[in-house]
């Protein structure tokens, strides 16, 4: 594993990145140990499993976000896309479609298309990713209220219910699903040509274009992947909640970006990987879990969360000056 990759990545750099991922993992374990010793109920298997389940949703969104950020962009529309999924699946449930797979396929097609539209705006119209995806989020927010109204919609879909609640061998299905997503993402980044192009694009778009990288197509694929991942995360969130409502996806914008950055991926693009994002996602839910256990007021919870993210950023995700 290390031998071939050391020829492709700076050995010092990959050491550093590896350390970052490991560092994040180390922090997670330390936090868990301390928390389970000090707070009753934290260290129980049930609670940990619950946290990992929550992390799975973030982890899946963050898979798309990781790719986009390595590619030098950012996707602020993932929250709205998750909401589209969670509200859309119940609306799409077709009577004749017994398995519910038709609705799922349709919604994933829609979310991927949303991502591709993001990519098209960025690649062809040269709209800055932050503006394009924010505008997309605003647009979707309006469209959603128009379609779904303000009320929550319950889902009746066997597959989604299974994703959210089944526990083969005691392991939540959502976690198994996350593991599959993680494997695909890591392999895609490290072992496919597409992955190499994403890294190149993020590090230097101009040099990439002159080296023959098809920048527009790569951008479309990146944001399309992010849309697909947000859609899958939306399915997981829907399965766990049992109902979809407007606003269900909102927290995931910040969460996904934070997980990626805590995992050591550069916000400037070109460096990083999904291996760091995974512990980043677990760390995030652990923090939220801890804050909930502390049982503070909404104001304190918010302040604590912000301070902890900032503190962790200082510890693990410090951006080297690159100019």
């Amino acid at each position: 594993m290390t031998a071939p990759s050391s020829t492709l990545k700076t050995s010092r750099l990959s050491g550093l990145l590896g350390n970052r991922a490991l560092l994040t993992l180390g922090i997670v374990i330390a936090v868990w140990i301390v928390a389970s010793l000090t707070s009753r109920g934290f260290g129980t298997w049930g609670h940990l499993r619950y946290l990992i389940e929550l992390a799975a949703v973030i982890g899946v969104v963050a898979a798309g976000q990781t790719l986009v950020m390595i590619g030098g962009g950012i996707d602020l529309s993932v929250g709205a896309v998750i909401t589209v999924t969670a509200v859309g699946v119940p609306l799409l449930s077709i009577p004749g479609d017994a398995t519910g797979l038709g609705a799922i396929a349709a919604i994933l097609g829609i979310t991927t298309a949303i991502g591709i539209v993001n990519g098209a705006g960025i690649a062809y119209l040269r709209v800055h990713p932050m503006i394009m995806t924010l505008a997309m989020a605003t647009f979707l927010q309006g469209a959603l209220i128009l379609l779904a109204g303000g009320s929550a919609v319950s889902v009746d879909n066997a597959v989604i219910d299974m994703l959210g609640n089944a526990r083969p061998c005691g392991i939540p299905a959502s976690v198994l699903f996350w593991i599959a997503v993680a494997l695909v993402t890591v392999l895609m980044l490290r072992r496919t040509r597409f992955g190499a192009r994403v890294y190149a694009l993020g590090a230097n778009p101009l040099a990439s274009a002159l080296s023959g990288v098809n920048v527009p197509m790569t951008t479309l694929a990146l944001y399309g992947f992010s849309g697909l991942m947000a859609g899958l995360a939306g399915l997981l969130a829907l399965g766990m909640n049992g109902q979809g409502y407007v606003g269900i996806g909102d927290p995931y914008v910040l969460m996904s970006i934070a997980a990626v950055v805590l995992g050591g991926t550069s916000i400037l693009g070109g460096l990083g990987g999904y291996a760091g994002t995974v512990p980043g996602a677990v760390l995030l839910v652990t923090i939220s879990g801890l804050i909930t256990v502390v049982n503070a007021s909404a104001g304190w919870r918010s302040v604590l969360f912000g301070v902890l993210i900032l503190g962790l950023l200082l510890l693990s995700g410090r951006e080297a000056a690159r100019r």
């Binding site: 031998a3 040509r193 890294y199 990439s208 002159l210």
Partner: protein, 499 residues
């Protein structure tokens, strides 16, 4: 003998454990133009940064007027040390005048005194030969003009020490003459000047004293009296310069690899051009006459049109870089750092990219053959050291080798090179020249746009001279001479005024 105004004594500096300066001393005296020579990677930039306070040496000291000081940019400025670096310090959005005064604005009641600023800026622009409106944003200016603003900015602080790092690299012949006059005048006023240039003729003309660096050590420190250009090169390289250009035999075939008629792209218009297999075709002319647009247009990187076009037997222009690559074209850009290499990525990854940019995205990568390929390329191009290092760790010359080497796996039939030896040390230049002739001998077609006239003369089968977006002449064989190229590059009256 005067006391040195600025002196570095036995300074050492290492980056990430790699020693870049191994105990170098240099002393700048008032009223003397001091040349600092050395190949890229010899440690010149580091030494300049130490002299200007931008870097602190690991050991050794910097003395101003004989007093050792911990130098920072602010302290350096206070002592009258000004630097004109290759990487310009300008803000494109601000006007020429505001840029000149930046960091040292004249003030009235806490506000910038635009009156005083205008007066000094106008006077300085006149001195450096810049005739633009001083309210113009710098972003509107050409690279050469910006360089002049940068020099005016340095003079604005009335420096006692002026460090000029390749000040003429983007200047026209006329602008260069003005600058040389300026340097001579400053020298008479008693300014100490440190002059870094790859153009030996300039150095011979204006410098009095020379320090030569090689691999982070000082190999010469002496007066320039009685030293000729050949001796200078010997000092830098450590051997005779006679073999800078390889000897070669024409290998051009009749069959054109590229043939375009009525070609237009960017500012290029109505160009008829053949590039034959087995030849090196030079593209000459003053800076910015459309040479880059010609190459980029042929490469499909900017929109282009032609009445007829043939690429490797196929009709029509390649509409995209991808299409150009599959026609067997490769492009080596002038601006390595921005366009040529991915600085933060490993040397090896850089060399794999053109290969990985082709084909299906989901195609699997196999690390073992990839690393064999990288090692073979590195060996062939003489790129030493750990290939897992980020490309920014390499010197400019070696980065250029990477930018060239990465195309080899695609076996390109046509190479388009945009000023590949700009800012490259002599050793690497020689390597690149040998490679280019080697490519031609293998039957590849090479198009070489260059701002360095000698390399057009000594390396090319034919030379197309461009002026204002058009090819004004194509010289072949014995017609090719520096005088002819320069004369064609300038309109006739320009030639007279420059001479």
């Amino acid at each position: 003998m005067a006391t040195p105004v600025l002196e570095a004594r036995d300074v050492r500096k290492a980056f990430f454990g790699n020693p870049v300066l191994k105990g170098v001393s240099i002393a700048l005296e008032p009223g003397r133009v001091h040349a600092l020579l050395g190949e890229n990677g010899a440690g010149k930039s580091t030494l300049i940064n130490i002299l200007s306070g931008a870097l602190a040496p690991d050991s050794g000291g910097v003395l101003v007027d004989g007093v050792a000081l911990p130098l920072t940019p602010v302290v350096a400025r206070r002592h009258g040390i000004a630097v004109v670096q290759q990487e310009l310090s300008l803000t494109t959005h601000l006007s020429i005048a505001e840029n000149i005064g930046l960091g040292a604005f004249p003030r009235r009641f806490g506000l910038v005194d635009y009156g005083a600023l205008a007066r000094s800026a106008r006077a300085l622009c006149e001195r450096v030969g810049l005739d633009e409106d001083i309210a113009r944003p710098v972003g509107d200016l050409s690279l050469g003009r910006r360089q002049l603003v940068e020099i005016a900015k340095a003079l604005y602080r009335n420096p006692r020490v002026l460090i000029l790092d390749e000040p003429t690299s983007s200047l026209s012949a006329h602008e260069t003459r003005t600058l040389i006059g300026l340097v001579t005048a400053l020298k008479r006023q008693g300014t100490a000047i440190l002059y870094i240039s790859h153009r030996l003729a300039e150095v011979m003309e204006i410098c009095d004293y020379v320090t030569v660096l090689k691999d982070g050590s000082r190999t010469a420190d002496r007066s320039l009296d009685g030293v000729d250009a050949a001796a200078l090169v010997r000092l830098m390289v450590g051997r005779d310069p006679g073999d800078l250009f390889p000897t070669w035999r024409p290998t051009a075939e009749q069959q054109p690899a590229i043939a375009v008629r009525g070609f237009a792209a960017g500012r290029v218009r109505g160009v008829d051009l053949d590039l034959r297999a087995g030849e090196v075709l030079g593209i000459g002319g003053l800076v910015g006459q459309g040479q880059e647009d010609l190459l980029l247009g042929l490469y499909g990187a900017i929109p282009a049109a032609a009445t007829t076009a043939q690429f490797g037997g196929r009709d029509g222009l390649p509409g995209s870089v991808t299409a150009a690559n599959s026609c067997g074209l490769a492009y080596i850009p002038a601006d390595r750092k921005r366009e040529g290499v991915h600085l933060v990525h490993a040397i090896g990854s850089n060399m794999l990219l053109p290969g990985l940019a082709r084909g299906a995205g989901w195609a699997w990568r196999y690390p073992a053959p990839e690393s064999t390929q990288i090692r073979a390329l590195a060996a062939r191009f003489g790129i030493k050291g750990d290939l897992g290092r980020a490309a920014q760790a390499l010197s400019g010359g070696n980065q250029q080798k990477v930018a060239l080497a990465k195309w080899m796996p695609l076996d390109p039939k046509i190479l388009l090179l945009n000023d590949p030896t700009r800012g490259v040390d002599i050793e690497t230049k020689r390597d690149i020249y040998t490679m280019l002739r080697g490519f031609a001998a293998e039957g590849r077609a090479v198009m070489l746009a260059s701002s360095d006239t000698p390399e057009l003369v000594h390396l090319c089968d034919r030379v197309a001279v461009m002026r204002d977006g058009r090819v004004v002449a194509v010289l072949a064989g014995p017609e090719i001479s520096e005088e002819r190229i320069v004369a064609l590059a300038m309109a006739a009256d320009d030639v007279r005024s420059a001479a």
